[in-house]
Amino acid sequence: MLKDKRGIELGWEFIFTLLFVVAIIIIISFWIGSQASGSAMKKQILAKEICLLVTSAEPGTTIMIETEKKMSIIRQNTGIVVKESELDRGYFYDCYFKDNIDFSKKDDIMIIEIR
């Protein structure tokens, strides 16, 4: 009886360790996958390019950018954030945006107006 109890204990311990390790492997695989897919670089380049484009644009300019459906480009104070989804923290780049810049989205098209 005592031996059975110890065996069950060891069994549970093994299952717990296995689940823990498998969960970590899955999380790390997803994370490496997202890094290797270039999404982080894509967000960075997009944020910086838009930042320079908007900062150097003349007043009265409207910039329209076709983006992926889930991607969002948001103004945050004087900078810009490019997010891949709602859960994504996004990539932030500080620009020199004044109050004359409006961001809006229509379907898959991002509209940036410089008044």
Binding site: V21, I24, I28, W31, I32, Q35, A36, A40, M41, Q44, I45, K48, C51, L52, T55, S56, T78, Y93, D94, Y96, F97, K98
Partner: protein
Amino acid sequence: MMKKTNKKAQLGHATTWLHKFFILVLVIGGIIAIVTMHYSKQYDVRDVEASVVARNIVECVAPGGILKEFNEETIRNCFPFNEEEIYMNITLENDNLVFGNDFLATLCKAEGKKVKVEYYPACLEERYYVLENDEGKTLNLFIAIKKIGKNL
């Protein structure tokens, strides 16, 4: 006696778990560090950014090349900037305006003298000709941008 042995066994068991946990943290930490180092390459846009800033300053001070106003308030109203991340030295003949982090100018000078600086700012020096009452004047701009974390 039995209880004492159990206590020792429990302590030994806990120690092996701690050891396993430490190795796991070390391995995961290593993987994260390697992947982050490999994939988090930065795209340096500070040189272009400095040119854009210079052009914006000229457009504020002298729209269309004709001098309007040259004072601190005009530059501050021109565009919002983070004083820690930028240094601007604007000279119009004998008038001089300085904004931002002075240390960036020192780093730019050091870089110009071939001093090895690991994290250097982007430095730009430009000269423009503007008109004031039909008289030509020289507008000198020196701009340094830090933004190291996002560009290097």
